[in-house]
Assembly symmetry: C2
Homo-oligomer: 119 residues x 2
DNA sequence: ATTTTATACATAAGTTGCATATACATAATA
DNA sequence: TATTATGTATATGCAACTTATGTATAAAAT
């Protein structure tokens, strides 16, 4: 599952696109499987992206012109690398700041304000 | 719309149940319309709960035994107050701490850590 | 040697949690 | 007298997932 052990499934719904864009904005170039590893590790095993969610989303991002792909043969296997287009970088920026804003609003609703401000 | 002006709809999906439980845990007794006002105000107009989302969810919570209701006539109109049952209080506690944990994980993924710790 | 696990991508079918629209009704405000 | 606010309720439909399945190579464990 895209959501793992820790959270009720509903909570994660809607965050996938933003997570992918954040990873690509940070690392420049990543392949799908690599993204799942990164999210899993950085979330302390709390979030596990499923392939059923990931690959359709990556294909969508490509058709939307947000990412471009490059296939690389590793031995006899193929890795498909994704990176942001120029337009994709702007989309990523918007999505990331939208997420920051959303998280802050949620923290207010749940009395978890930290005094942290996001520009 | 449950989600308003500010956020892409996907982001809020999944948070409604937790928001309701948090409000009830805080205030003890609330009616539906009142909840929508509170969320709207506390989110700085960024989140607006829709009736189409709210009432079915409240009914569900009632059939699940998480809340009980009390109808009060205000003039000729009826207000339906909701409050947590004993079981509901435990559910609320779990959901609230799940949300805190989720928000923290998201902050890590998006490099927004604040040093805030949630017990 | 052979089974299991990890790596790597992909798609189809079904479910859930909402948005959108609509309905009904009272009370206050312009 | 028209609009806005208050107040609850249901139905239809869609999007973003979950679950399941398929294909294939490579490494590790038994």
């Amino acid at each position: 599952m895209y959501i793992s052990v820790m959270y009720a499934n509903e909570l994660i719904r809607g965050t996938l696109k933003s997570i992918i864009l954040k990873l690509l904005a940070e690392h420049g170039k990543l392949y799908g499987y690599e993204m799942t590893r990164m999210v899993r590790e950085r979330s302390g095993d709390k979030i596990q992206i499923t392939e059923g969610a990931l690959y359709p989303m990556l294909h969508l991002l490509e058709t939307e012109g947000i990412v471009t792909t490059e296939s690389v043969e590793i031995g006899k296997r193929v890795r498909k690398y994704y990176k942001l287009t120029a337009a994709g970088k702007m989309t990523a920026k918007k999505k990331i700041s939208e997420m920051a804003d959303f998280l802050q609003t949620m923290q207010i609703l749940f009395d978890l304000e930290s005094g942290l401000s996001h520009g």
